[in-house]
Chain length 93, copies 7
Amino acid sequence: MNLKPLGDRVVIKILEAEEKTKSGIVLPSSAKEQPQMAEVVAIGPDILNDEKKKDQIKVNDKVIFSKYAGTEVKIDGEEFTILKLNDILAVVE
Amino acid sequence: MNLKPLGDRVVIKILEAEEKTKSGIVLPSSAKEQPQMAEVVAIGPDILNDEKKKDQIKVNDKVIFSKYAGTEVKIDGEEFTILKLNDILAVVE
Amino acid sequence: MNLKPLGDRVVIKILEAEEKTKSGIVLPSSAKEQPQMAEVVAIGPDILNDEKKKDQIKVNDKVIFSKYAGTEVKIDGEEFTILKLNDILAVVE
Amino acid sequence: MNLKPLGDRVVIKILEAEEKTKSGIVLPSSAKEQPQMAEVVAIGPDILNDEKKKDQIKVNDKVIFSKYAGTEVKIDGEEFTILKLNDILAVVE
Amino acid sequence: MNLKPLGDRVVIKILEAEEKTKSGIVLPSSAKEQPQMAEVVAIGPDILNDEKKKDQIKVNDKVIFSKYAGTEVKIDGEEFTILKLNDILAVVE
Amino acid sequence: MNLKPLGDRVVIKILEAEEKTKSGIVLPSSAKEQPQMAEVVAIGPDILNDEKKKDQIKVNDKVIFSKYAGTEVKIDGEEFTILKLNDILAVVE
Amino acid sequence: MNLKPLGDRVVIKILEAEEKTKSGIVLPSSAKEQPQMAEVVAIGPDILNDEKKKDQIKVNDKVIFSKYAGTEVKIDGEEFTILKLNDILAVVE
């Protein structure tokens, strides 16, 4: 069972704390909007067909996104988040 | 009796709990905006005539949409929701 | 005496409860925005002159529209509602 | 002394109750935004020079407009209202 | 000492009550937004260089504008108001 | 040490009270938004490269701007304000 | 480990107080929005591919930005801020 995001949306899977530790990322617990780290699972057609956007993000990329962005959904027991490309701040390499 | 949505609207029929279980989708009961699953019943002309949009969604597709989006209407005893394409987050395959 | 709507407006006449029953439509009494059924009486020039919009709606069409949209006016004892095309959700056939 | 409206504005003169009765229009006293009837006195250059807009309204046309739209001004003892074309809902014929 | 307004701004000088009486204009004291009468002193370059706008207003024109629009400034003891062309409602002839 | 404003921003230096007196400008102390007088120190590239904007303002021009616009910054003991061109109301000559 | 900002975003590293002293910048502690000084670490593709924007900012530039703009993230023990180009006010040379 697959999720195909519409428009300029992206499906991501949030990375758990252990993974964050392994990758060396620690997110600060300040009063500011807190970003989170996730892995890209699927990319919407408006991104794939846009010359400027299609090279900015790929499936399996690790990304940082705005914590309060997007909608969570559980499929076959797994949790995903669907959000707009614009809510993804950066790719971590 | 048929509903023909105007502009970039879509008519969907919400899938009941049993159906959700069969298809393996469970929607989380968090404090966040909750998405819902539905089946596409009719698609507005601005989507069908748009080269970029017309391939993203088809009648009978199962979709996830924002719970608070759209307007409910009952026709011949059946309940439908009319909403904008932009309120549909993803197609489930 | 006639009403000629300006711009992308439409003049509609709300259908009474009996008529709704005959046509088989029942509108739910939920807490959500409630749609209403009406008949199209006149269509503004910006719709008639727009290639994309002019085929979406015709005089005498039965339509569902957002209950809180538009402005009511009484002419020669008859009540009409003037609203934007965008506030009409669907045509019922 | 004349008022020449700027941009896409229109100068109108509100029709008094007697005139409304003669023309057969009665405006409902509901809780909704109440429209009013008026006569067009002058039309701004952005309307007269717009191919799409210039045929929609003429001086002396009787129009229905949003009650809370526009600015009132008294010139030589006469009261006028200056408002945007977009606040005029329909022409009454 | 001169004021050269930037962009689509206009510098105006508010006409005093006596002048209003002479010109026959009386502004109503209603609860609605109150317009005021003024004389055009200087016109910004975005108006003078716009084919559609440059003929709508000239220096020395008497204009009606929204009372709460613009910024007041005193130069060499004289008070002026700097506002956007869009806040000028009409020219009085 | 220099400040190079980005985009359509301008760096200005606020003129002190004595200078205002010499140049004959007195700013009113009303309840309305109060403008201030300043000298242009640097101009952003989006202004210098825009045919319509580049002639409206030059370094050393005396300008009037919205008091609450922009961001203050102190460099080498001197205070500057960085603001958008659109927050500058007029040039004083 | 690297941060690649998406769209028109920039990754910056805030300069500490000592560095500010060395570079002679002191930021005022007023009630107004307070700017901060930082060094550019990475620049997003929508800036690098835009003829107008790509020359306005370079990696290693010292910049002043709006204090409340952007999102903080810690990678390998170092803190960065990801923000939009539009939230960078000026380059300091």
